[in-house]
C-alpha cells in the first residue's frame, strides 16, 4: 500500500503522524495569517461614544421641532438631541412638552459637537422648575450643494461604529423609519468630516421621505442654516440625486464640499 490506511474508529496510524504534525500547524498558521491580513488595517470608525451603562440627568427646555431636543444652560446654542432606546424617536414623548422645562435622564451619545441622549421612555422625563432658556437663534439660509451620505444620527454619533456605509444601510433605514433625525455626512478631500441635520423645506422633520437615498452616495441641494451652533439643511427629498458614474466611484475617496464652509465639523 502506498499510504497507511486510516480508519476513524481504529487507532491513528503511526506512519501518518509526521504528516499531520506539519499539516495541522500549517493550516492553523495559514488561518491566523489570513486573520492578520484582514484585521490588521481596520478602518477607523469615528470618535463617537455611547455611554450605555452610565445614566445621567440633565435639566433643560424642550424644543420639539424639527426633532426633539433639550436646550440646557451650558448647551444653549447646541442642544442635546433626544431619542429613545432602540431605533425609535422621542417625538411622541416630547412634543406635548414643547417649551417646558424638564429633568430628563438617559444615556449620552456624543461625537464632536453633537450630543444626543437616549431615554428609556416617558418615565425618563419629569417636569422641572422653569428655566429661562431661549431656542437657538436661526440664521438666514445659504444655498449649498453637498455630496455625501445620508445617515441616521443615532448610529453615526456613536451607537454603531461604523454607523455609515452599505453594510449599515438597513440599520440606518430602520432608524430613520423609526423617526431618528437624518443627517448628511460629508467629507472633504482632507478627510475631515462634517454632519448636517436634514429637515424638509418647511423646517420640519423629513425622515422617512429620505429612506430611498439612505447610505448611498448622493448630492443634496438646499438651504443651509444655523440653529445656534448646529447646521441644518432644508432639503426637498425629491431633489436628492444619487451619484452616478465616476462621481459615484470617487465616493469615499474625496467627497467635495461645494458652496459651504465645513461648520459642524466632527473629528474622525
Amino acid at each position: 500500500m502506498k499510504n497507511p490506511f486510516f480508519v476513524g474508529y481504529l487507532p491513528f496510524p503511526k506512519a501518518l503522524k509526521p504528516f499531520f504534525q506539519w499539516v495541522v500547524p500549517l493550516f492553523l498558521l495559514a488561518g491566523i495569517a489570513f486573520v492578520y491580513l484582514i484585521s490588521s488595517e481596520v478602518p477607523a470608525a469615528g470618535t463617537g461614544t455611547w455611554n450605555a451603562y452610565d445614566k445621567v440627568s440633565i435639566t433643560g427646555v424642550v424644543k420639539a421641532k424639527p426633532y426633539p431636543m433639550i436646550i440646557t444652560s451650558d448647551r444653549a446654542t447646541h442642544p442635546v438631541l433626544v431619542v429613545q432606546l432602540g431605533k425609535l424617536d422621542a417625538t411622541e414623548i416630547l412634543a406635548p412638552l414643547d417649551g417646558k422645562t424638564v429633568l430628563i435622564e438617559g444615556f449620552m451619545i456624543e461625537r464632536g459637537p453633537w450630543q444626543m441622549m437616549e431615554i428609556e421612555g416617558p418615565e425618563s422625563i419629569v417636569e422641572a422648575p422653569t428655566l429661562a432658556l431661549a431656542s437657538p437663534l436661526e440664521s438666514e439660509g445659504m444655498y449649498v450643494s453637498l455630496v455625501g451620505e445620508i445617515v441616521d444620527s443615532k448610529c453615526m454619533l456613536g451607537v454603531m461604529k461604523p454607523g455609515a456605509g452599505k453594510v449599515h444601510r438597513d440599520c440606518a433605514e430602520l432608524c430613520v423609519m423609526g423617526g431618528m433625525p437624518p443627517m448628511l455626512l460629508v467629507k472633504n478631500d482632507r478627510g475631515e468630516k462634517a454632519a448636517y441635520l436634514l429637515v424638509d423645506q418647511d423646517g420640519n422633520a423629513v425622515g422617512r421621505r429620505l429612506i430611498p437615498h439612505i447610505a448611498l452616495p448622493v448630492e443634496v441641494e438646499g438651504l443651509a442654516f444655523r440653529m445656534g451652533d448646529m447646521t441644518a439643511i432644508k432639503v426637498d427629498p425629491t431633489s436628492v440625486q444619487a451619484l452616478q458614474g465616476p462621481a459615484k466611484l470617487a465616493f469615499g475617496e474625496s467627497i467635495g464640499i461645494a458652496g459651504s464652509s465645513s461648520f459642524c465639523r466632527i473629528p474622525g
Binding site: M1, F6, G8, L28, P43, T49, K161, V167, C171
Partner: protein
C-alpha cells in the same frame, strides 16, 4: 451503520479532531477581535459588537474554505483522508459560527426597530439595477438556510432516511451556498466605503477552492479503466492490483465497479459506491477480510456485498470469470447483497510486486 443511532459515535480520533478544530476556531475569533481592535486607536475602534460580528463572519469564511478543500485534497493525496473522516463535525461547527454571525447581524442591523427583523431583512431598500446597490444580506440568509439544512441532516440517521443519493444531492448544495457567500461578501462588506476585507479575498478563495477541485479532476483514482459497455469485459492486468487493495473500473453509463484482490489471490467485484456517503470503495482496502471504505470505514463482505452483521448495508455485486488466464467482469450489476463466487487467478500469472 444500521445498528441503532446515537447523537455522536465518539472515538479518540474524533475527540482529538474536535479539540484541535475548536482551538483553531477560538484562536481565529480571538485573534481577529484583538488584532482588529488594536489596529486603530481605541477611540476610533469599531464597536465591540461589530468586531465580534466580523470576527464570526471571517472565521466562518476561513472554515468554509477549509471544508471545501478537504475533499479535493483527500483526492489529491490520500494522507488527507483523516481530515475528511470527521469533516461532518467541522461542518456543524462552521454552521454554529455562521449562525451566530447571522443572528448577530439580524439583531444588530435589523432588530430594535419598528419592523420585525425578518421583514426588515427582506424589505430593506436596494435595487438590482447596480451592483453597488444590490442587497447582500438576503444572500447571506439563503446561504445560512442551506447550511442549516446541511447541519440538521448531518447524521447517519438522516442519511438513511433520505437515502444516500438524495442526501448527497442535498449536501452538494454547499457549492450553491458557497457562491452565495462569495456574493454576500462581494456585494456587502467589499462594497462598504471602507471595507476591512481586501478586494482580493473572494478571488483568492475562488482560486483556492476552484483550483483544488479542478486539480482533483485530474487525480481520479489511479487505476480507472474504461471498459466500454459490453456485458463481459476484460479486466486489464488484474495481478497488478496489490493484495488487500481495490481497483476502480469505470463502466460507461453505470456505477463504477470496485475489484478487490484478497490475500489469497481471490478476486471479487462490488459496487464502488459506499451506501453511507457514496465514498469510493475501490480506493479503500481490506481489513479483517472486509472491504473498508476510505472515507468513514464502512465495511462490506466481498463475497456478497453485504455489511457484516449486525449491520445491514448492502451494495451491488458483479460476476467475474477467468478464461485462458484472463479476468473478465460482467458489467451487469446484481442486486445488492447477491452472493457469487470469488475467482482465483493462478499464482504463476502474478505480476504483482
Amino acid at each position: 451503520m444500521s445498528h441503532g443511532y446515537v447523537p455522536v459515535q465518539w472515538n479518540r480520533n474524533k475527540k482529538v479532531y474536535d479539540i484541535i478544530l475548536w482551538l483553531g476556531i477560538v484562536a481565529a475569533i480571538v485573534a481577529n477581535v484583538l488584532i482588529a481592535g488594536a489596529s486603530v486607536p481605541a477611540a476610533l475602534a469599531p464597536s465591540s459588537e461589530i468586531l465580534v460580528l466580523r470576527a464570526l463572519g471571517d472565521t466562518g469564511f476561513i472554515l468554509l474554505n477549509i471544508i471545501l478543500a478537504i475533499g479535493p485534497l483527500a483526492r489529491l493525496n490520500k494522507r488527507f483522508l483523516p481530515l475528511l473522516y470527521n469533516r461532518r463535525h467541522m461542518g456543524v461547527s462552521f454552521f454554529v459560527i455562521v449562525l451566530a454571525h447571522g443572528l448577530f447581524a439580524l439583531m444588530w442591523y435589523h432588530g430594535f426597530g419598528v419592523v420585525d427583523p425578518l421583514t426588515s431583512l427582506f424589505t430593506s431598500q436596494g435595487t438590482l439595477e447596480t451592483v453597488s446597490d444590490y442587497p447582500f444580506q438576503p444572500l447571506g440568509f439563503v446561504a445560512l438556510t442551506i447550511f442549516f439544512l446541511m447541519a440538521a441532516t448531518s447524521h447517519d440517521f438522516w442519511n438513511a432516511v433520505l437515502g444516500p443519493r438524495f442526501w448527497k444531492s442535498l449536501h452538494m448544495l454547499v457549492y450553491v451556498a458557497y457562491g452565495l457567500v462569495i456574493l454576500h461578501l462581494a456585494l456587502g462588506a467589499l462594497q462598504a466605503e471602507q471595507s476591512h476585507i481586501p478586494g482580493w479575498v473572494p478571488f483568492a478563495s475562488l482560486v483556492w477552492v476552484g483550483g483544488l477541485h479542478i486539480l482533483s479532476l485530474f487525480a481520479e483514482p489511479g487505476d480507472v479503466v474504461d471498459v466500454g459497455n459490453d456485458a463481459w469485459v476484460e479486466v486489464p492486468a488484474p495481478m497488478t492490483i496489490a493484495r488487500g487493495v481495490g481497483r476502480v473500473i469505470e463502466v460507461k453509463g453505470q456505477e463504477r465497479v470496485a475489484i478487490f484482490r484478497t490475500e489469497n489471490d481471490e478476486f471479487g467485484a462490488i459496487s464502488n459506491v459506499c451506501r453511507h456517503q457514496a465514498g469510493p470503495l475501490g480506493e479503500g482496502c481490506m481489513i479483517d477480510g472486509l472491504v473498508t471504505c476510505p472515507w468513514h470505514g464502512f465495511q462490506y463482505q466481498l463475497q456478497d456485498g453485504a455489511s457484516p452483521p449486525p449491520f445491514e448495508e448492502k451494495v451491488a455485486t458483479y460476476e467475474l470469470k477467468i478464461e485462458n488466464g484472463t479476468l473478465f467482469l460482467n458489467t451487469t450489476a446484481l442486486p445488492p447483497g447477491t452472493p457469487r463466487p470469488l475467482v482465483q487467478l493462478a499464482e504463476q500469472n502474478s505480476e504483482a510486486t
